[in-house]
Symmetry: C2
Subunit: 420 residues, 2 copies
């Protein structure tokens, strides 16, 4: 059993407590032990919160409590958070944090201080995307040649709207603030600083390089105009705010800036509030990681993954993720019960009533047509290409048999499933 | 120190041995110990191979050798490979395998047999993409709602060519065979069986469900025609071979089939021989993983990641990937030395000679223009929007200063970097 204290019970902290409750069975089965969110620390006990965890405003009491195994630091900021995690480590408690600013400034001191005590921070970069995990474990065979990432959802949302909908910078900033994507003072996001903190963390794992935000080039998206977007469109570029790390000989180039990238690159497909990070290893080539870079539940997903890692320390992950006795008792669905949409290719005689015949056979099997295209084959035949609304595999298979025997259908029908 | 034997020294086996030699410093620094590829087992000692490892054809001698810590099984096939890994586990040796067929049939017996002995298989699904790692560790907080993946590069290459270039199925199959992407008997790939093996492995980790290939729906891409692709284009679908796993109540839907998917989905951007797997968790939402699904070095990258994991067992990964004493002595590049392409937005007087003036200032700073667009601003001014060939940050910054002072330039110039 591991007992967990959550320091800072805002959006992410509440999600951590609630997910540990809601998904308890599967999480504990994967961890191989009970994980108990025992206490949350907040500044203001009177504030109403939708969270199931017991709360206190006495942080020292929690840090001194020997029954607490893991401190989840979600208070944000640098100075006070640094003091809190230092104290936690001194007391031998494992630490999980989502605090990128803390790590941008103090990651090497913290590594030193942690020693063999687990200190995990998956949520600090790109929210729910397991990019730290990929870089720290999945790509260890590689020299990392470069990393390029869309690591700030606010900027990416704004740029996507500017590009797709021609909205001007000031208007989209106002909209993002109204939607809660951008802060009242947006400079931390739109100025590139948030992305820079994340980039510095990734660069440490890839290159072991110790740099601070003030050491690197950081530019934001504030000066992008409609002319720039016009030029980009004209020459098939997309505008993104990128965190970039590149190995050039024995030097590491680190910078955050808005950038034109060719529309052939996967990163240009990462739109809206989503994040995406492309990593090029000298052996694996390009891999890319995509997902939600922010949001309470997505970020909490990464925090809890770290808690599970800590629970598994010393014994490794179970080979198949679960031990076989921990199954959820799920069963394989019968093929007949699959439900989806279907596309059918039917070659039929080119005569009045053929479509009526086909539709009626489908209707008799509870299948309704959504879209249809007719293409001539030769003088006597046409292709009916059609898609259905959602129906059952069993019904489609029976309908296909009936269609095959139907005289207006001149060739064995073909079917492809549609995944909307 | 861990000593490694490689059983099967073909494309992937050679890559494993060679990468362990070429990237030795960084790999061992990340692993925290020496990893020694000490012997390779082959059937035919007389075959010429480009590999640095000592070879033998006596597999029993290797399995009996108490100095060998890790068996890397790359022989392929089910029956003999199963005997080999069973024997390795019985002797207490850790196992790393890329053998998807072995796992599709025997993963639960092997988990049972392995007990606390490490048994790893990242390379068995999607080559170099760390998808097992993501699913087994990164997403443990989530009930997995669904997984959809492009897990067979051969099929994806063929479909991409059929869609983009209108090549017919038979022609592209022939081409893929000539290129070495498809086997002489292509049915394992184009029939969906390879993808099914991978899907079953992922489904075990996500759902703990034990199913065999013969239990699930498996269809390939053999029957896709130009009419189907026309229909897909007409209604903005893309055709892909997908492995699909979905949780529907207490049932798990598992199937491999060619599918129409809407072009809005990220998976439709996964083209050519690349693989991509989209996973939807109930908390994190969609995450996607993209990269090379095959090839010697990419697959070896995953095999070696597993070897490093085994070396780290019991102590966890170093917080920042390396211990601080293991740095590669890389240094941060000075901002001035950054080299890239640049886009410049200049507002200039609309008169003869303005462009000449601008070009000449750029040329004086070793900057040459690649592309240019001119856009009217008002009666007296135009925007010159231009991109440069690769040049140095230092030069661009000086050029921007000179341009700002130049009389034909009527507003402070703006710059965006281009990442080709």
């Amino acid at each position: 059993m591991l007992k967990i204290a959550i320091i800072g019970v805002g959006t992410v902290g509440s999600s951590v407590a609630n997910i540990l409750r809601d998904n308890k069975d599967i999480i504990c089965s994967r961890a191989g032990m009970q994980l108990i969110p025992s206490i949350g620390v907040v500044n203001n006990l009177n504030k109403k919160r939708d969270v199931s965890i017991k709360l206190t405003d006495d942080i020292d009491l929690v840090l001194e409590d020997d029954s607490i195994d893991i401190i989840v630091e979600l208070m944000g900021g640098v100075t006070q958070a640094y003091e809190v995690v230092k104290k936690a480590l001194t007391k031998g408690k494992a630490v999980v944090t989502a605090n990128k600013a803390l790590l941008a400034y103090h990651r090497y001191e913290l590594q030193e201080l942690a020693g063999d005590i687990p200190f995990e921070f998956e949520a600090a970069v790109a929210g729910g995307i397991p990019i730290i995990n990929a870089l720290r474990e999945g790509l260890t065979a590689n020299h990392i040649e470069s990393m390029k990432g869309i690591m700030n959802g606010t900027c990416n949302y704004m740029l996507t709207r500017m590009i797709n909908d021609g909205v001007a910078y000031d208007d989209i900033l106002k909209e993002s603030q109204d939607l809660g994507y951008a802060e009242a003072d947006p400079s931390f996001d739109v100025g590139g600083f948030d992305a820079a903190h994340k980039l510095l963390i990734l660069a440490s794992i890839a290159y072991g390089i110790d740099a601070k935000p003030e050491d690197i080039l950081i530019e934001g998206i504030e000066n992008i105009t409609s002319e720039d977007i016009e030029f980009a469109n004209e020459f098939d570029y997309c505008v993104k705010l990128l965190g970039i790390a590149k190995k050039v000989g024995k030097q590491i180039e680190l910078r955050v800036n808005s950038a034109f990238i060719p529309n052939t690159q996967m990163l240009t497909k990462v739109d809206g509030v989503m994040n995406g990070i492309s990593v090029i290893g000298d052996k694996v080539g390009e891999t890319m990681y995509y997902g939600a870079g922010a949001g309470g539940d997505a970020t909490a997903s990464a925090v809890i993954a770290n808690i599970v890692d800590i629970a598994r320390r010393g014994k490794g992950s179970p080979m198949l993720g679960f031990k076989s006795e921990n199954l959820e008792n799920l069963i394989l669905m019968s093929k007949d019960d699959i439900k989806t949409k279907y596309y059918l290719r039917l070659r039929v005689e080119d005569k009045t009533g053929a479509l009526a015949k086909v539709s009626s056979i489908l209707a008799n099997h509870n299948i309704s047509i959504e879209k249809m295209l007719q293409k001539p084959v030769n003088k006597t035949c046409v292709h009916l290409l059609l898609s259905t609304h959602t129906c059952m595999e069993k019904d489609i298979n029976q309908a296909l048999k009936t269609l095959e025997d139907e005289i207006v259908v001149t060739k064995k029908p073909a079917m492809i499933r549609i995944e909307d």
